[in-house]
């Protein structure tokens, strides 16, 4: 996703003169082509994220459309107050891009994990929270965010994510994309867990369960139209995210269910309320938290088959 981001940003910047990219001292050479487009519209703001976010807000208040890019914890939790006051209070059209989200940087330890970012940014008035599942969704998102003056947070992985969509239907923020239609259960995924979620659907199919797989690329605003019709069609909604089960996508769905007169049950897959103190790859970390196709399929099956 990282390379797709740099490549697509170069296109976006070439066509929209308002676009500026601010980087927090990462992506060495990643933005070389962007700099060729216009040297004046790329800034390495150093390892100083609080300032970078304020600078972006100042630019946005002057009519520009800055994209702020660095590793997720540093562009979210590190400078949360600047996002809250400078960006959201002013409703400044800043686009915050967090790279290496979730457990993408698993080996780097919890300082570089981001399992709280959607939770905290979702609380800010006016902030959109977007978690594309693959590079092709991300590319469309980068164009879509510019059609509106709201601040946006885009949560992306790092590199090597599988392409999910072979041909992508038109992506609209706040409207889900159904990746695989089904009739028995809905597997709703926000972000980079899509490959595992699709594999879970394949495993479920072997047990005779038809699972609908949905990309909830926009966590805020939530696609409540889809949730309304899904809760009529399915007894169980399964939410999947590489993020804490506190406050993220599963919470957003649960909050929606809470105010419905009737709605489906929910099964949530996300990380536990602990820091990971041992070393491990992303695959190891996912397994630890039950974020595998096998576990998603088996747990879903157990719930579906439990006597009500």
């Amino acid at each position: 996703m990282r390379n797709a981001f740099a490549e697509e940003m170069t296109r976006v910047a070439a066509t929209d003169k308002r676009v500026v990219v601010l980087s927090g001292d990462i992506g060495n050479k990643l933005f070389d082509k962007l700099r060729v487009v216009d040297e004046k519209r790329f800034y390495n703001c150093g390892i100083a994220e609080a300032n970078m976010m304020g600078v972006a807000a100042g630019m946005a208040l002057s009519g520009l459309r800055p994209f702020v890019y660095t590793i997720t914890p540093f562009t979210t939790t590190r400078c949360f107050e600047q996002i809250r006051v400078d960006v959201c209070y002013h409703h400044a059209p800043v686009v915050i891009v967090g790279t290496g989200s979730g457990l993408s940087y698993s080996e780097l330890g919890p300082t570089h994990h981001s399992l709280e970012d959607m939770a905290i940014l979702r609380t800010l008035p006016g902030m959109r929270v977007v978690a594309p599942c693959d590079a092709s969704e991300l590319r469309q998102v980068l164009h879509e965010v510019l059609k509106d003056d709201s601040p946006t947070y885009i949560r992306i992985g790092k590199k090597g994510e599988a392409d999910i969509h072979s041909s992508l239907p038109e992506l609209k923020l706040g409207k889900v994309l159904v990746v695989r239609p089904g009739t028995d259960v809905a597997l709703l995924c926000a972000g980079n867990m899509m490959s595992e979620t699709l594999m879970a659907a394949v495993i479920l199919a072997k047990s005779g369960v038809s699972a609908e797989v949905v990309s909830f690329h926009t966590v805020k605003p939530l696609d409540v139209d889809y949730l309304h019709q899904a809760s009529k069609r399915f007894n169980l909604l399964v939410t999947v995210e590489e993020h804490s089960r506190i406050g993220g996508f599963s919470s957003a769905v649960a909050e929606w269910r809470m105010v419905q007169p009737q709605s489906s049950n929910q099964l949530a897959f996300g990380t536990d309320d602990v820091f990971m103190h041992e070393v491990g790859s992303q695959a190891y970390a996912r397994k630890k938290y039950g974020l595998t196709a096998d576990n998603i399929a088996a747990s879903t099956l157990r719930v579906l088959r439990a006597p009500s």
Binding site: G46, A50, N51, G58, L61, G63, P66, H90
Partner: protein, 276 residues
């Protein structure tokens, strides 16, 4: 509208001080000492320097001024009224439920003349730097001014912005530090190692000068030398007195939170030579 006549500016500053003290008394608004120390700085900027149009407050090429020490809002609100962004009578609603005049500036969408909502310290300079860079990107020639408190220089984000501004040779940004020697609970040079303040800005690559922040000749001279010809950002360390204008408030940090009585308002007005 703009004037370099220092006696006119002094008269205006005295009038503004009297109004600020009266508003504090009537509405129970604190931070009076902090408001009074920067009245001359704001007066010099808004009536002597800033290229702004009250009929078109969002004009693309306007100069920007951010009161980064947002707790000085009561002073800024009076300055903006006197400058003509809204009638003085609008301030009768100060502090009322449902109004816009809080203890800190609202967003530009909610009050004409405001460039940024401040109140949390250490935000105004990064915001101002973003605006200054936007000017460069958009080929505009406006200047950006950020008024900071000395206590505010405790915040790390101030120095993050200082380093980036110097690295990017952003010459169209000017920081003015209202160096009144106090912060909420004590002497600013004792709570954190603030001194030597001007030297610190120089060490960060800024063109720094020190002035008497209550002397309009010195303030205007320093402001006229900005922008610096060699591409440095400018810092004006303005030595001020907290509570300036009312003898019984001056350099007394109790006035960070104290509210003047009706009698104290009268006493202040007499000292300021403003009619009762």
């Amino acid at each position: 509208m703009l004037t370099k006549d220092t006696s006119k500016l002094s008269g205006l500053a005295a009038l503004l001080r009297a109004r600020i003290i009266e508003t504090s008394s009537k509405t129970g608004t604190p931070h009076l000492g902090s408001c009074l120390s920067c009245v001359d700085i704001l007066t010099a900027l808004y009536f002597g320097v800033l290229r702004i149009d009250t009929n078109n407050p969002r004009a693309a090429g306007r100069d920007r001024c951010i009161l980064s020490k947002g707790h000085g809002a009561m002073g800024l609100f009076h300055v903006l009224a006197e400058r003509g962004f809204y009638p003085l009578s609008k301030l009768d609603t100060y502090g009322e439920d449902g109004g816009v005049f809080a203890e800190h500036p609202p967003t530009p969408d909610h009050l004409a003349g405001i460039e940024a909502a401040t109140g949390s310290l250490g935000h105004g300079l990064p915001l101002g730097l973003g605006m200054a860079l936007a000017g460069r990107i958009q080929d505009q020639t406006f200047n950006v001014y950020a008024v900071l408190g000395d206590g505010e220089c405790n915040e790390g984000s101030v120095w993050e912005a200082a380093m980036l501004a110097a690295a990017q040779k952003v010459s169209n940004i000017c920081v003015i530090i209202d160096f009144n020697k106090w912060q909420a609970t004590g002497r600013s040079r004792e709570i954190m190692a603030l001194d030597p303040l001007a030297e610190k800005w120089r060490a960060f690559g800024w063109n720094a000068v020190e002035v008497d922040g209550h002397n309009f000749d010195e303030l205007l001279q320093a402001l006229e030398k900005f922008p610096n010809a060699i591409g440095q950002p400018t810092a004006i360390v303005a030595h001020t007195v907290k509570g300036k204008g009312a003898s019984f408030m001056e350099d007394d940090n109790n006035w960070h939170y104290r509210i003047p009585t009706a009698e104290e308002v009268i006493k202040s007005k007499l000292e300021l030579g403003v009619s009762l």
